[in-house]
Amino acid sequence: MSAPLPDSVDAVVELLAGESYVCDRRLATALYLSLKLQRPLFLEGEPGVGKTELGKVLAQALDTLLLRVQCYEGLDVSQTAYEWNVARQMIEIRLAEAAHETDRAHLVKSLYSREMLIERPLLAALTQTRSPVLLIDELDRADEPFDAFLLEVLAENQITVPELGTIRASAPPITVITSNRTREIHDALKRRCLYHWVDFPSVERELEIVRLKAPGAAERLYVQVVEFVQRMRTLDLFKSPGVAETIDWTNALVALNAMRLDPATVHDTLGVLLKYQDDIVRMQGGDTLKLLDELRARALLE
């Protein structure tokens, strides 16, 4: 392995910081344990708090392959694990016909051999020589039967193909599962994972993240943006803005050459932060001014 696995919680924090991913110690501990105990890491949390990003960054930091399964309703084995290469099988049959081959047992065997299998991400994750990062994204969007299918892969690091037998991983993948909690994932699956709830970051951490991810703004603006968004999350909005939205918003403000927050700019760019009309109407109905007044009272806006 070119990049060795980190051997302490601090090493994990450092490793991720090297890829400009700022994480708190709790998440680092969970990740360290998942690497050490070879258990999948199950991340739940609001959209836009960096769950998927963690998987991607981890693959980069460990300099290994990233295999991603994006879940959606109706997902099945042929899209996630493996599929028989029907077209190639047909050609084999035609070739055998043309060559007047009569050994049918041999033909059947060659039709259902390992080469005829098209690898999809889950199977590919088990056949690498170096442990890849397997990212199963937004598992809550897949149907419940898919959870059950994952059990074998996650617990035993193997997939059973009925025609072929069991394929076992020589280098078990580092698995990261994310969920937005639009449905409850089955306990049997969670039991096989380490669980971590990814919360919104603290002011200091979010400042750090925004400085890294949205460079080019004035220091004053960073503070204003982060304080404003953090305060917004305490309002009972239909959907609170995530860190991703904070980064987008900062980039938007930089693009508009805004030097500081003022009511007009906030008003015009609310769509970057909020994606529900009700929330936008509510903010425009006086909450924006109230929050800006609060910032002013704390001498953050001059």
């Binding site: 110690r25 501990t29 029907v86 099988q89």
Partner: protein, 401 residues
């Protein structure tokens, strides 16, 4: 003399038992994992141990509160915790002292229960009562409760009724969608059949599809005004039970204002869910403004929640005025947008009930069904009643007139 590893193991086993008592599912496998986890992160930092144990022992975010309280109580001695010794001390055996801080209730029970069983001191009377009451309700009690009116139940009976209400079956039938899905019989799927033939030459195994069948969304509009107090409490439990089993149940309460509490009812734990809902709803036991609340529902939520043949359960006694025909207007709009509008009214239990209130008269022509809900039996019957062909509410009106 036992080694330190044994002590850690013993403490973790004990801690797991406390968590189990508080309702978390912590099996032996997790205990083993927890030991490995603690070993991996080491005992130098308390927050690391906390993070490691919670990563292993939690299933969902709501459990974090209970876990944190348990962790704080269990590994209490802070001076020693700062050194690594805390985990090694045999004296911290997990029973804890009587709690000083108001921890999560269930945790308190989990920590206190074994003690109450051991020594029957007078101050543990409360716990004992709890146990007695649990044992007291036998099957025949349950049967009697089925028919008892919610209004006339004692507190203890009402507690049990709440638990039963959580388990009542869904009142809606699955509907047939226009999209087809693969099935073992039904309409012949030529494309899939060809594919199968390609995969297994010289065999013909036909593939079929049939229309997808799924549960339509359900919207519960719950009147929480003063006159509905007991019924609405129970109905919240019913709605919570529904929401746990059917992902598309939306619950809104209304009295003087409309509140969407769907999000809060998603919590698995009924007490916690209802407490969260309680905090959101600000018009408990107040007056009723059915008309403006229904109008607000139509304006703000109708388009979002009433897709896909949604049924609306309107739970209200209808005791309101109908100023300028606003109520009738809102009800008519609601009926047009919902697939089915069912009005559940606790007052209907009285044989002599007559729709005298202006609100009842205004609503009645616009609902598809009008059913009583005043005891568990009528709740449980809801499903059956909704499957029967709808009576024409107009005929009910004429009957009363």
């Amino acid at each position: 003399m036992r080694g330190p590893t044994d002590m850690i193991a013993e403490n973790i086993v004990h801690f797991a038992r406390v968590l189990r008592g508080a309702g978390l599912t912590v099996g032996p496998d997790r205990v083993l994992q927890a030991m490995a986890a603690v070993e991996a992160v080491g005992l130098q930092r308390r927050d690391d141990v906390h993070a490691a144990l919670s990563a292993v022992m939690l299933d969902r975010h709501e459990q974090q509160v209970i876990f944190d309280a348990a962790f704080a109580t269990f590994w209490r001695d802070p001076k020693l915790l700062e050194q690594l010794m805390a985990l090694l001390l045999p004296k911290i055996s997990g029973r804890g002292e009587r709690d000083r801080a108001p921890h999560a209730n269930r945790l308190q029970e989990a920590l206190a229960a074994p003690r109450a069983a051991h020594d029957a001191k007078p101050e543990s009377q409360a716990n004992k009562d709890q146990l007695d009451f649990d044992a007291a309700f036998t099957f025949s009690e349950r049967e009697r409760l089925q028919k008892a009116d919610f209004e006339s139940m004692t507190t203890a009976e009402f507690e049990l009724a709440k638990r039963l209400a959580e388990q009542i079956a869904l009142p809606i039938e699955p509907v047939r969608r226009r999209r087809h899905e693969a099935a073992s019989r039904g309409r012949l799927d030529l494309r899939a059949t060809m594919l199968k033939m390609a995969r297994a030459p010289h065999t013909l195994t036909p593939a079929f599809t049939r229309p997808r069948v799924e549960l339509p969304p359900l919207v519960v509009l719950l009147d929480i005004s003063g006159s509905m107090d007991r019924y609405s409490r129970l109905f919240l439990h019913y709605a919570h039970g529904l929401a746990r089993r059917h992902p598309h149940v939306h619950t809104l309460t209304f009295g003087t204002r409309l509140t969407n509490i769907t999000r809060y009812l998603r919590h698995r734990d009924p007490d916690h869910a209802l407490q969260l809902a309680d905090e959101q709803v600000q018009d408990w036991k107040g007056g009723t403004r059915i008309a403006s609340c229904l109008a607000e529902f139509n304006r703000r939520w109708g388009r979002r929640l009433l897709g896909g043949n949604a049924a609306v359960l309107l739970v209200s006694d209808g005791l309101d005025r109908d100023e300028n025909g606003h109520l009738a207007e809102a009800a008519a709009h609601l009926r047009r947008t919902a697939h089915q509008l069912v009005w559940l009214n606790p007052l209907l239990r009285f044989d002599g009930f007559k729709p005298k209130a202006a609100g009842v008269r205004a609503l009645l022509p616009h609902v598809d069904r009008f059913l009583p809900v005043h005891n568990l039996e009528s709740l449980a019957d809801l499903g059956r009643a909704l499957r029967e062909p709808a009576l024409d509410p107009h005929s009910q009106m004429t009957r009363w007139n």
